[in-house]
């Protein structure tokens, strides 16, 4: 391996001998030390997807109201489920032997693919031919925090790296002035899994997601503190860099040159992030297509920001919208949630497509599990259900216009083409150019991977 110090020393001698300006340092950061853990890396093969936008519908949306049309469930609504279905079944809140509840919304077929979708998603249903819809997702967890960890890290327990962290670890960062892995949160609450949903687990911490916010400082501590204007900031930074360079020359520790690059990138972020976040320069037509309103944080704004991030080379963007836990008030709340999200999701896919970014951007939509065909409470709620749920993907190596998998007549179990969370991860990693069995990190004497010892690539999902 090249000696990082040689690189940095040479740079300093050549570029920084006289005066240490921002320009020289910008170049320096461009030629980061050889050991830069964020350097762009290649996957195991050429992946179609270069970046990911994961629309995480936290709280778990009802597949039975949105994507998985079950006329039989309608027919048997009000009756008890067949006892053999419930054998060994554990429910979170309800007695599993509760009455069945028919779908609450009207379904229709759309597009060339003839995919079914409900009236809740008029915008997304219009682009089904761009989507890969998987109706046969299954997971192991039926509580929120473990379920969200499962979907994000491949394990129900805390402490494992998230999907975004794995991808960032595997591919590095294309952007020199934005974090590689960015997270937004909208909706009623934060995600149940907390920070660990985008954590780095045992991977180096720099692969963890960085939370952005729609108001105030988009990144914590981004703005200059009171009294510090840009000139003072720049003068201060120049002094810091010069003194750090002197120290580097005295003690020779390459960490110092990394710190110098970090400070320069921090300074660049101070202008690049506000520029990124400023939606006011987007054409009104674009804002309208998403339903985004500058200055008013929303899921729609976050979708538009996700596109802007991907345009700027950010590797992984995750939007959490925690609002879908409809134990009760199903009709009212899911209607509101779809109103808040449907248009923006569809607009994002269309926008990416129009800009030629969809081929290299993998969009993923879904929650941590599904909902029970059985009712919870009176007649307007559903409990958690791990056995079957629907997710959709678009772009980046996915086969458009595909509807994969089926559930039984009640939407209770998968009856065809089961896709476990591990399979999903394996497939998404494949789209990004990874053999999921080889994207590993050694920890505690073992090579860990996102898919643990499981996972099969689902070829039918791939273009």
């Amino acid at each position: 391996m090249m000696n990082p110090l040689h690189t940095s020393r040479r740079w300093f001698l050549e570029q920084c001998g006289v005066g240490l300006g921002a320009a020289a340092l910008a170049d320096l950061a461009g030629a980061a030390p050889a050991a830069d853990p964020m350097a762009v890396k290649k996957g195991h093969f050429e992946g179609k997807a270069k970046s990911v936008i994961f629309l995480f519908m936290a709280g778990a949306p009802s597949h039975l109201e949105m994507w998985d049309y079950k006329p039989k469930l309608e027919k048997f609504s009000g009756t008890l489920p067949p006892p053999e279905l419930l054998k060994g079944y554990r429910a979170a809140f309800i007695n599993p032997n509760s009455r069945l509840l028919g779908p609450k919304f009207k379904f229709k077929q759309y597009g060339q693919s003839g995919a079914w979708a409900s009236e809740l998603v008029p915008h997304t249903s219009a682009i089904v031919d761009d989507l890969t819809i998987v109706k046969s997702c299954v997971t192991d967890a039926f509580n929120h925090a473990p379920g969200q960890l499962m979907m994000n890290t491949g394990a129900q327990i805390f402490g494992r790296p998230s999907f975004g962290a794995w991808v960032t670890y595997g591919l590095g960062s294309e952007s020199r002035d934005l974090p590689a892995f960015v997270v937004f949160s909208s909706g009623k609450k934060g995600p149940s899994g907390g920070n660990s949903c985008w954590g780095s687990g045992f991977l180096p911490t720099l692969y963890q997601g960085v939370q952005f916010r729609g108001t105030g400082d988009p990144v914590l501590y981004l703005s200059n503190p009171p009294g510090v204007d840009n000139q003072t900031q720049r003068e201060s930074l120049d002094a810091i860099q010069k003194l750090n360079t002197m120290r580097l020359n005295t003690v020779g520790d390459p960490e110092i040159s990394t710190r110098i690059s970090s400070f320069e990138m921090a300074f660049r972020m101070q202008s690049s992030v506000p520029e990124l976040m400023d939606l006011s320069k987007e054409p009104q037509s674009v804002l309208d297509s998403y339903g985004a309103v500058p200055g008013k944080p929303s899921f729609a704004n976050n979708c538009l920001l996700a596109r802007r991030l991907v345009e700027r080379g950010v590797r992984f963007v995750q939007l959490y919208h925690e609002a879908w836990d409809q134990h009760g008030n199903l009709v009212k709340d899911i209607t509101a949630n779809c109103k808040d999200t449907d248009q923006a999701c569809a607009a994002l896919v269309k926008d990416l497509k129009q800009r030629g970014l969809l081929d290299s951007t993998l969009v993923v939509w879904g929650g941590e599990f599904g909902r029970t065909p059985m009712v919870q409470g009176g007649d307007d709620g559903r409990d958690h259900h791990p056995n079957a749920f629907t997710m959709w993907m678009a772009g980046g190596g996915m086969k458009p216009g595909v509807v994969l998998g089926e559930t039984d007549d009640l939407g209770f179990n998968v009856s065809k083409e089961k896709v476990h969370v591990h399979d999903l991860h394996a497939t998404l990693l494949h789209a990004l150019g990874f053999d999921h069995t080889k994207l590993t990190f050694r920890f505690q004497g073992r090579d860990f991977r996102l898919t643990d010892v499981h996972g099969n690539v689902v070829k039918q999902m791939l273009a």
Partner: protein, 1044 residues
């Protein structure tokens, strides 16, 4: 790659690994490479191409492609050729990463030296496994003869030097005194030296000047803070439950216990023992029980939909993982699902160890600070004195009490317990677990307002009254009987219906009685529900008054709250012909606060319902413990029991009203105390542990008895199957990994990497130690110190050995050549230069600026943090964060409240783990977010302003002197001429800019109200602002947050 390697002249390898200097040792150098890269296909399980490399005879025989190893001739040995990629055949290991150059060189050298394969390692891997070095009890290695005796201060240096000789490397010269003192101070107490400390050390010309500093720092109470933080990582310490609710928990007593344990140098074996089994030690003290908090630092999931047993199991797995990583240095958690792939830990072994821990309560105990403990002792002493006076004044008290007892014994009606079931929809998500004695325990999610519907069948033909008993349970806060953080509960309304069908008959109650009827009082703030209604607790009538703003309360004040209670509800009209009829009982519990995602519930914890046919049944006024004593054989009553009966009986004696009132007054002085999660042993039958197939708690298999893996030291004969036995086993002299793991982690925090780099894993997949002999020597020295008067297992002894070695004192400056040769400094030819841990980054900043509060221990603090972090949608639920404005704003970062789901951002950005899982090795990153934090975060800025003011006030009269003052406060040394001129130029520019704008200067130098102090004499606000800029620059230097 192949071409590149071929092009490398043999000399390149020879330079890096001088063959002549030290012969290769098969077991130490070669076998680990084969094990890692070859045995998978050429080992016990699989012999591709008929080749087996894990046993000598087979390996020398070769495989299908002929001779693999030709002793003395690497060029003819396919083992070397294939791993080096020389020749036409596919490079090995196939499908895996190619070996590193130095590994290839080792194999080559080993073959060329004759392929010496010692007898002791001749067997196949299966036998070899048990011989893995780390599975043998450490033996004190002989100290090597040093090539430079003058350099050797203690055996550490001899071992390090021997290794350097082997690598043809030389140690660096010693660091200068200032650098050394800053390094030592950061290492031992986690704080930089003050300029006065540095001056004193520089002035001390005695030969023991350095040792004196070591002694001073080891005696500092900040030493405990510094080293506690390391252990708290391993103990996955955090101040919240984790998972989505992530409610606050009180566990800071455990944190303080760890600090104190290090400060009093509690021997490490005892340190472990108390954490695993402190509660089981004879006459366990509060401290020893608090120590078991180690096992309770697991997360708790109180999502609505959980199965409490599932998450108890998750906690158990987490405990096992923490014990494995932090104490054993073994990845035992692999065996949770299956037999360990690499180490001889059987699936069953995991559950044998698990069984030791599996018979405990998830308890939460009241704990008191030393002051409070003294206060309590005083109160109890005075009560005893008053009671003694009463007994003296009325010598006939024994007979009188006996008469009262005889009458009291017979005054209770028969109660028939109801077998109840909770209707799931009505629980609000709370789980009601049947406890086997007709009682129910509330667990899981705790809705702050709900009305649970309980269904039962009456066994009595006639029902005159219903009794509700509130029962203690170790799994409730402070033992219950309620679920509030104080273990209290409140019953808003009690109701009952008889009969089935759509219109069961509602029962009316004539009256209610209870053993306690507290006076009416308003709910405490922790139950605030955002309504304007006056919500109160009071006597038991409030449970049948039809008013949901009133409830029966049981909080009798500190010291007397967590005891069983009972209420009896007497029917207006008895239910007749009740046998087998359906009873529906509603317990409305509405007296919690507004946020069910926080600690605001006021629910009943464990309770039992019974019915009676007796007329005039009332709640038994006797406390449950007194009733139990009365029911037992009076002849066998202990004096303490007799006193307990007296303590109740005296309250019924009218002539003692004055004395009783005095005692009541004493009770009112009882301190509220705090709580701490602990483990306590279950009473009665031991919980059966079963092997769980694939680690799934829904797939229990055969029962397993407590035990230990066969390849480790064995249990002492006749040892009981208790946690104490587990602790004794783990701290036995023959335990192979316990001392090694500890020594290695201490080493890691000094030098950045442990002697075994994989500090959580000493198993066969671990990285080979850089200095195995040294590690073993240190491990033995820890257990059996060679120096006189040193306590075995003394951590301070270990620290003293390390920091007084010449190895430690080396300069950390590095040349490009040295860096290229040993980028990670594993050979220790130089001192360590490392960015300090996140907490110390903060502590240095506070210390340099003079803001730091030196106060040790106590409740967590809440330094400034952005509000939105604690509100949805950033946080799952609203969380409490009351920003400090006094001294607590500037406490060491160790005391910052830690929410697992919302880590404190400054600490998170500097790689501080969040307590999700045991962490024995932090990563150390260097990111733009760190730069943004140290440049712009409010407390960093506050520190810059404070340093500026201090500099202008105390730093002397000239700017040069002032700069020197500030610079030394941050990095201990004086600035160089170049540094000085750079900073003074900045000061000049900034003084001019701020001089031109007074408003801006004030904004820079004192934006907060409490910072608007009078200007220092002779100073302008412009100067203060300019110095703020310079101070901020200093605090942001790489050197400021680096141990050099």
């Amino acid at each position: 790659m192949k071409l590149l390697l071929l092009a490398l002249p043999a000399a390149t390898l020879a330079v890096a690994f001088p063959a002549a200097a030290a012969p290769v040792d098969f077991v130490r150098d070669v076998q680990p490479i084969l094990q890692k890269s070859c045995y998978g296909c050429h080992g016990e399980k699989s012999q591709m191409a008929s080749l087996r490399l894990d046993a000598r005879a087979a390996a020398l025989r070769g495989g299908l492609s002929g001779k693999t190893i030709v002793p003395g001739k690497s060029a003819e040995s396919s083992l070397y050729l294939r791993v080096a990629g020389v020749g036409e055949q596919a490079r090995m290991p196939m499908g895996m990463k190619t070996l590193r150059l130095e590994q290839i060189a080792v194999i080559k050298q080993w073959i060329d030296e004759g392929a010496v394969w010692p007898d002791r390692a001749a067997g196949a891997a299966s036998a070899e496994v048990k011989k893995h070095w780390a599975f043998q009890p450490p033996q004190r290695a002989g100290v090597p003869k040093a090539s430079q005796p003058a350099w050797v201060r203690n055996p550490i240096d001899a071992f390090v030097l021997a290794r350097l000789d082997k690598e043809a490397m030389k140690p660096s010269s010693a660091a200068d005194k200032t650098t050394l003192l800053r390094r030592l101070s950061l290492d031992l107490i986690g704080l930089p030296p003050t300029p006065a400390d540095v001056a004193a050390f520089l002035a001390d010309k005695s030969p023991t000047a350095y040792e004196k500093q070591v002694d001073r720092l080891l005696r500092s109470p900040h030493y405990g803070e510094r080293w506690a933080r390391h252990w708290l990582d391993a103990a996955r310490y955090a101040d919240s439950d984790g998972f989505e609710k992530d409610k606050q928990r009180q566990v800071w007593f455990f944190r303080d216990w760890v600090i104190n344990a290090f400060n009093r140098d509690l021997p490490y074996n005892q340190f472990i023992t108390e954490q695993l089994a402190g509660d089981l030690l004879p006459n366990a003290t509060q401290d020893q029980m608090v120590a078991t908090g180690f096992l309770r630092n697991s997360m708790i999931n109180e999502e609505g939909g959980i199965d409490p047993e599932q998450f108890r199991m998750e906690s158990m797995f987490d405990r096992m993982d923490a014990i494995g990583k932090s104490m054993l240095g073994l990845t035992i958690n692999c065996a949770q699902c299956h037999t360990h792939k690499y180490d001889p830990i059987l699936h069953e072994d995991y559950y044998k160890l698990f069984a030791f821990l599996n018979n405990a309560n998830e308890a939460n105990a009241a704990v008191y600070t030393p002051d409070e403990q003294r206060q309590r002792a005083g109160i109890f002493r005075q009560i005893r004195e008053i009671e003694g006076e009463m007994q003296q004044q009325s010598p006939d008290w024994v007979e009188r009490m006996a008469r009262w007892e005889a009458q009291a014994k017979a005054n209770q009606p028969d109660w028939v317990p109801l077998e109840i079931a909770a209707e799931d929809i009505s629980t609000g998500g709370q789980k009601y677990l049947p406890m086997g004695d007709a009682s129910m325990l509330a667990q899981g999610y705790a809705p702050t307002k709900h009305r649970v519907k309980l269904l039962a069948k009456s066994k009595l033909p006639r029902i005159t009254a219903v009794r509700l008993e509130l029962i203690n349970d170790p799994n409730l806060p402070l033992g219950g009987p309620g679920r509030s953080v104080k273990g209290t509960g409140a019953l808003t309304e009690f109701a009952m219906e008889v009969g089935e069908g759509p219109k069961p008959e509602a029962v009316k109650f004539a009256r209610a009685t209870a053993d306690v009827n507290p006076a009416e009082r308003e709910l405490e703030p922790m139950f605030y529900d955002k309504s304007t209604r006056r919500r109160v607790t009071g006597p038991v009538d409030y449970a049948i008054d039809g008013n949901t703003d009133t409830a029966w309360g049981i909080d009798m004040g500190p010291g007397r709250t967590n005891v069983p209670r009972k209420a009896v509800f007497t029917l207006t009209k008895p239910v007749e012909n009740a046998a087998d009829s359906s009873l529906t009982i509603y317990l409305q519990q509405n007296h919690g606060g507004w946020n069910s995602d926080d600690n605001m519930n006021h629910n009943l914890g464990r309770f039992r319902l019974s019915v009676t046919s007796a007329e005039n049944a009332e709640a038994d006024p006797l406390p449950a413990n007194v009733r139990a004593i009365l029911a037992a054989d009076a002849a066998r009553r202990t004096p303490a029991q007799q006193q307990a009966v007296f303590s109740y009986w005296r309250t019924t004696v009218p002539e003692w009203s004055k004395e009783n009132a005095r005692i009541e007054e004493l009770w009112r002085q009882h301190p509220a105390g705090s709580s701490q999660l602990i483990l306590s042993e279950r009473q009665g039958e031991m919980r059966t542990t079963r092997l769980l197939t694939r680690g799934d708690f829904l797939k229990p298999a055969n029962p397993v008895k407590p035990g230990v893996p066969a390849f480790l030291n064995q249990l002492p004969p006749d040892a009981g199957a208790t946690r104490l036995t587990l602790a004794r086993w783990m701290t036995d002299r023959q335990a192979p990994t316990t001392a090694r793991a500890f020594v290695n982690r201490v080493w890691q925090s000094y030098f950045g990497t442990g002697i075994v780099a994989t500090s959580e894993d000493f198993g066969r997949q671990s990285e080979a130690p850089s200095h195995q002999d040294l590690l073993d020597w240190l491990a033995v020295e820890l257990m059996e110190p060679s120096a006189k008067g040193v306590t075995p297992w003394s951590a301070k002894h270990l620290h003293r050995l390390i920091v007084t070695s010449n190895t430690y004192r080396q300069s950390s400056a590095v040349t490009p050549e040295a860096l290229a040769k040993d980028p990670y400094n594993r050979m220790l030819a130089r001192g360590a230069r490392l960015r300090v841990e996140g907490e110390i980054v903060r502590d240095i900043t506070l210390a340099a600026s003079g803001l730091l509060s030196p106060r040790i221990g106590g409740p967590n603090v809440y330094p400034p943090a952005p509000d939105f972090l604690f509100q949805p949608p950033t946080s799952y639920g609203p969380k409490q964060w009351h920003e400090e404005h006094g001294e607590d704003r500037y406490r060491r970062a160790l005391y910052t409240h830690r929410y697992r789901s919302v880590p404190y951002p400054m600490l998170q950005n500097f790689d501080t783990p969040n307590g999700d899982a045991s962490c024995v090795r932090r990563t150390r990153s260097n990111t733009p977010l760190q730069a943004l934090t140290s440049l712009n975060e409010p407390l960093f800025m506050e520190a810059a302003r404070a340093l500026a003011r201090k500099t202008v006030t105390e730093g002397g009269t000239s700017e040069a002197a002032q700069l020197d003052f500030a610079f030394r406060r941050v990095v201990a040394r004086a600035p160089s001429a170049a540094e000085k001129s750079e900073l003074l130029a900045l000061l000049e520019k900034q003084t001019q800019r701020f001089g031109a704008s007074v408003d801006k200067a004030w904004e820079m130098a004192a934006p907060n109200s409490w910072e608007r102090l009078p200007l220092p004499p002779r100073a302008t606000i412009g100067q203060l602002a300019a110095w703020t800029t310079v101070s901020r620059v200093l605090l942001n230097l790489d050197e400021a947050i680096t141990k050099e």
